[in-house]
Amino acid sequence: MAGVDDSSKKTLSAIPLLKTKAGPRDKELWPQRLKEEYQALIQYVHHNKKTDNDWFRLESNKEGTRWFGKCWFIYDLLKYEFDVEFDIAVTFPTTAPEIALPELDGKTAKMYRGGKICLSDHFKPLWARNVPKFGIAHAMALGLGPWLAVEVPDLIQKGVVVYKEKVV
């Protein structure tokens, strides 16, 4: 997994770390935090585009508590697209956001109910160590990205996921 680590590290270096430790409940500081989150995401997306590694679309509600969008994975020259959604918990940023792919709910073992992906064991300690520096961008890069890379090919081979024509 060194390769993953390497690439993830590289990815990490591309995402600026956050400073403000504030959850949605902190009326005063949450916008500040949200600003930082956006800035980090923008940076991350820019980086991805630049490295030809664009793999998601994400947007949030007005308050920035709920996020949704799409993510995709290219396998065998085919683009597999999935919806993605997650809420910012009150405990955020102490706890990581629980990213969910509702389409794949029940199709794989590595998933909680509601399609929440089962993140690897070492992600959570990593996050814990980096509170409050990690944000949504980091969760995407270090959580969802690797998960997709591991699970989607497996799912496709199993025939659980079938390529859908006319994917936008």
């Binding site: 916008p31 500040q32 949200l34 600003k35 923008i42 585009k49 994400l58 947007e59 949030s60 920035g64």
Partner: protein, 666 residues
């Protein structure tokens, strides 16, 4: 504050969306690219050229463009290797494309791995023109050195632009050289000056050195000047540093000198011509005087005038019968050989019959037979011959020689005859040779020269013959004697001539003298024996008388007181005086008889006696005569001693000592 923050969050959210929606840049990894391109090349879908480092590709069109650009940047000339370096493209591609450029662009060429375009050639032409303007002259070799381009190319460039961009002329003799007309004019002017100033033959090399001008330029200028007839002179050879420029002034002067010299002297000396700077005098003379009829000799050429002069003199000499030293008439530069040749020629021309009697002495002196006779006259007139002949007969030498000859050869008479015939024959031959020379008209030249040679030979042979003669015969005259005598007659002549004349005359004289001697001998031979006998008896008488005298005196002496000193002294005196007379008479006789020496026996002295003694051989009784001589020369000879020796000495000469005659004593 919060509201503001939220505004900002909204704006950021929008930014985020925008960022997400912006198109992804399509990049391929390097590896992929390489693979893709390889694939394309494999499929012949793409034609590209790798750079040397392998990191870039360029299309051939672009390479062509790049080459053209580089060519332009580098001023129209670029090395393909350099080009391949700067463009970072393999040389093979570059040269291939350069060839394409050459084909497609007019005026573009590849030479020695260099690409050159029209601009550059024009540039060269302009530069050449500039150089020509400053230097006046340019060679393709120079250009090759400056531009480092092959001469053929430069040649073509220059020739192409000649008269257009380059204002110059091409050397006619060497098309690799170009001049400006100004340069040519300058050279011409300089040469005109220099060559006009030169008055004596000058080596072209020297001229070049002095004028600091190139040999080629010199000849170029010279040629054009000659065409314009602006040079007063010629070159001995075209091209080459050792050809010589000869100004007309000099030639003219030379010719004048030669003409004048010839007019004055009627001959031309080759050495003199060489001193004048004429390298081949013989040819020169032939060329210069083609119809004059000069006679070529080894050292000079002689004109007909001189020959005529000589001929006249020779004829005159022949007529008058004198001699002629041709050396005096001809210029002193002629060697004796030349003179001999001339004389031969002249003699040939002389139709005079008497030419046959001419001899050539000292190689240059003509002597007529008549003259030699003339020379011999004084010998006759002064009676020298007569005198000599008589002398030789009187001294008995003649006799002796006759005897010797008889002993050596046996039959002297016949031998004598033989000698005579030999001499006769020689004479005959001489005459023949001479007539051959005289009647020269019909005979070829060769025979004539031969005859002359023979004559020379003969002269020498004759000389030797004379020697032989003098051995066998008697030598009445030595050459030295004759020479001395002739010297008196011909005081103004050289010694050599006199000597030769003497050599010529001596044998003749000898012959005449020998004949004379023979005559004298015959005359005296009749009287000779008688005379001897007469001499002998005279001597006997004389001796007898003397001896009687001695005896008488001796007797008289005895009347002096005996053992007195006076008696002894008188005795000695007697012996020395009267005895001396006897001895002298004896020695004189013997001297004449035995040693063929003409000794006047009545006037013989003690010294003469000693001389006679040395000449007598021991078997002729020298012992006895010596004894007698000793007695007479001793301190105090006595009469007894004298008497004792005189008897034996008389025996030598067949004389008798008569017994004392008592009657007469009384």
């Amino acid at each position: 504050m919060t509201a503001l923050d939220w505004e900002e969050v909204k704006r950021l959210a929008a930014d985020f969306q925008r960022a997400q929606l912006s198109s992804t840049s399509q990049t391929l990894s390097e590896r992929n690219c390489i693979e893709i391109i390889n694939k394309l090349i494999e499929l012949n879908l793409l034609d590209v050229i790798f750079t040397t480092d392998g990191k870039e590709y360029i299309t051939p069109q672009y390479l062509v463009k790049e080459i053209k650009d580089e060519l332009y940047v580098n001023g129209g000339r670029i090395n393909l290797v350099e080009l391949s370096h700067t463009l970072n493209v393999d040389l093979s591609h570059v040269s291939a494309k350069a060839a394409e450029v050459e084909r497609s662009t007019p005026g573009c060429v590849i030479i020695m791995g260099q690409l050159i375009d029209q601009n550059y050639t024009t540039h060269i032409a302009q530069e050449v023109n500039d150089r020509l303007k400053s230097h006046g002259k340019i060679t393709v070799a120079d250009l090759t050195r400056t531009y480092d381009l092959p001469s053929d190319f430069l040649q073509s460039v220059v020739e192409k632009n000649l008269g257009k961009l380059i204002d110059a002329k091409q050397d006619k003799s060497d098309n690799r050289v170009f001049y400006t007309s100004a340069f040519v004019e300058k050279n011409k002017a300089e040469m005109r000056g220099v060559l006009t100033a030169i008055t004596r033959p000058t080596q072209v090399a020297n001229i070049l050195q002095a004028c600091d001008i190139q040999e080629r330029d010199f000849y170029f200028a010279f040629e054009s000047l000659t065409e314009e007839k602006q040079i007063s002179g010629v070159l001995t050879a075209k091209q080459g540093g050792n050809s010589i420029f000869i100004p007309y002034v000099y030639t003219k002067q030379q010719n004048e000198w030669v003409d004048n010299f010839y007019k004055q002297n009627h001959y031309l000396e080759y050495d003199g011509l060489i001193r004048l700077g004429i390298s081949e005098p013989v040819m020169f003379v032939r060329r210069h005087f083609p119809n004059v009829g000069l006679i070529e000799l080894t050292t000079c050429a002689v004109g007909p005038h001189l020959i005529n002069l000589l001929e006249n003199s020779v004829e005159e000499t022949l007529l008058t019968g004198s001699y002629l030293d041709t050396m005096m008439m001809l210029p002193s530069v002629l060697t004796t050989e030349d003179i001999a040749k001339l004389v031969e020629l002249v003699l040939k021309r002389c139709k005079n019959k008497s030419a046959g009697n001419v001899q050539i002495l000292c190689e240059t002196v003509l002597v007529t037979e008549k003259f030699i006779q003339e020379l011999m006259k004084p010998f006759h007139e002064k009676g020298i011959i007569q005198q000599k002949a008589e002398e030789v007969v009187a001294s008995g030498q003649y006799m002796q020689i006759l005897v010797e000859r008889k002993l050596n050869k046996g039959g002297g008479g016949r031998d004598d005859h033989h000698e005579d015939t030999k001499a006769e024959r020689r004479e005959e031959r001489r005459r023949k040779a001479a007539t051959g020379k005289g009647g020269g008209g019909t005979q070829g030249r060769e025979t004539k020269t031969k005859s002359v040679k023979k004559k020379h030979f003969e002269k020498k042979g004759g000389g030797r013959g004379d020697h032989e003669d003098s051995e066998g015969r008697l030598e009445l005259f030595t050459v030295d004697e004759v020479e001395a005598e002739l010297g008196k007659q011909l005081a103004e002549e050289t010694e050599d001539l006199v000597k030769e004349l003497a050599e010529q005359v001596t044998p003749l004289l000898n012959r005449v003298a020998a004949e004379e001697a023979a005559r004298v001998f015959e005359r005296s031979a009749a009287t000779g024996a008688e005379a001897r006998r007469k001499h002998h008896s005279q001597l006997q008488e004389f001796v007898d008388m003397k001896l009687i005298e001695i005896r008488l005196c001796e007797k008289g002496l005895k009347h002096f007181p005996s053992n007195g000193e006076l008696q002894a002294k008188l005795g000695t005196h007697l012996v020395k005086s009267v005895g001396g007379d006897v001895a002298n008479a004896l020695f004189g006789f013997i001297g004449r008889e035995m040693c063929s020496r003409s000794v006047d026996w009545e006037a013989t002295s003690i010294e003469a006696r000693a001389k006679v003694l040395t000449e007598i051989s021991p078997d002729q009784g020298r012992e006895h005569l010596t004894k007698l001589h000793k007695v007479l020369t001793s301190q105090a000879p006595t009469v007894d001693e004298f008497m004792a020796t005189v008897e034996q000495a008389f025996a030598v000469a067949d004389l008798i000592v008569k017994k004392p005659d008592k009657k007469k004593e009384k």
